[in-house]
Amino acid sequence: MKNKLKEPVYILGVGCTRFGNLLETPEIKGLTLQEMAAEAVKEALDDSGTDPSEIDAIFVGNVTMHTSTLPATYSQIAKWTGMQFKAGVHFDGACSTTNIGITLGAMGIASGVYRKVLVVGLESTLSQPKKLSPFDRETIPTEEMWLWTDYCVNQAYSVPQGYDIFPSYNGIIAQAYCKKYGISIEEFEKGMFELCRTRRLHGSMNKRAINQETLEDEAKRFGFDDPYAFWKSNYNPFLAWPSRLRSAVSAADGASAIVISSEDGIQDAPNLPIEVKGWGVTISDLPWYEEDPTYMHYDTLSFDKAYDMSGITAADIDYLHVHDCSHISSICTAELSGYLPKGEGLKYAEAGRLRFDGDRPMSTHGGRHAFGHAWAASAGADTYEAVKQMRGICGERQIPNVPKISVVHTHGYAMVSTVMVYGRR
């Protein structure tokens, strides 16, 4: 593998809807998936100063066709985004989808075929079309959403024999982390509480997050003056012991969009273009780990590829987001990346060092728990945050030292380990 881009590629503009529930959340309530996608695309086009006529190809990602009922998403979205008669394709990298789209578009640009590419991700994880209505939707039970999402996982053997994401991606990893580093269950609880507190703080400062309530405020709402007592209460049950509900993903509806461009397309950009310096993509079926559940080998391969293509090391990273459907898994990944020292992640969380104003800022949009997770749209939302942080326009959650290098990692179910390296010019 040559692992090099022949030409530089830039993110010219980004767009992202509020993540929430199409049946409840004011900013997106009553919209369809087509309309959410159109909203994200409009923002990305405006942000990049791009007219739809300048786009050469559109890559549209959607994972759960059961809730979107839009399998040929490229043509179904084209008329809503001004992309009729472009090259286009529907693709699916599960929870890595939008960033996988950036890699596909970047290769199209670096090869000389395209000048500007639009990447779109859209997803509803909370509702589906009501009967055959083109606009009415109805809630789906959580277990049904997971049944459909688990179609991404080993359907030959694992799912029919009892596979469940919460022990595999949460509980077992948590236990392994504690044993490996000699952390007591009580210390683990405290660390996970502090990590959640940080993510929820970030979400409270982000008007596009699904959950904008701090953990402290939520505790008060439930009658707890002590948020840690709330953390350990029955309001925060074990999802997979010793991992609790608030250390895990919040399913959401949402859409994101990114305009990427060759160097000759960025001259008149109204906002700072961000360079796509490199990436690494590695796939793996179950088992995701062997003797040591805290170590996922394919992540090492992805980070190695990304660091090699971009010419950076972990020491160069100013801002990191790693996939955090499971908070303990995200700590393992951050440590594997070299951004945090091994076995120290929870201590860093407790010391506030992972906050936007800490020395190792992570997931400043709130991550999968507070910002929410709309499968195919989420990697784009992570990139959206990285771009805004690197432009220095994140307001009250802005990282004080505006990042020059940002790294975004996602685990597409299951697994597409994807690492993106972005650089400020």
Partner: protein
């Protein structure tokens, strides 16, 4: 008529046999079986019977209600990470383990412990689960 590898795996389980593939090129085991050696890509693979015995390294629990209706009667259940004698890692239901935090914490401290296969029925499909054969 070609025989489905997947169907064969479950039919073998019904006969209490745990079947994978062994590679004649690299010597490694592919379990559960597929059409190729998952380690080196060789098609020089042969049927290989595993003991199904091994060590339970960690055990947590599933969500309830379960996503897959096949497990409506079984969930919530203990779900563990197992290293088989043959060096293969597999995850599965662990029978006989309570899913209350106290039980799971007890097993957290006791693990690794030995397990043997416990082929159970899940809505008409024989599946590979495990049971612990010692507590220390």
């Amino acid at each position: 008529m070609p025989k489905s590898i997947i169907r064969g795996y479950y039919e073998d389980l019904e006969q209490k046999k745990v079947i994978g593939k062994k590679c004649n090129q690299c010597g490694k085991i592919t379990f559960p079986p597929t059409a190729i050696c998952e380690h080196c890509g060789s098609r020089e693979i042969e049927t290989f019977e595993l003991t199904g015995e091994g060590e339970l390294l960690f055990v947590s629990h599933s969500m309830a209600p379960p996503p897959n209706p096949r497990f409506n009667k079984l969930a919530p259940y203990a779900y563990g990470h197992v290293k088989l004698k043959e060096g293969v890692f597999v995850q599965g239901i662990v029978t006989g383990v309570g899913i209350d935090p106290a039980s799971l914490e007890e097993w957290y401290h006791k693990c690794p412990v030995k397990v043997v296969p416990d082929i159970i029925d899940a809505e008409g499909l024989s599946i590979l689960a495990f049971k612990i054969i010692e507590s220390q």
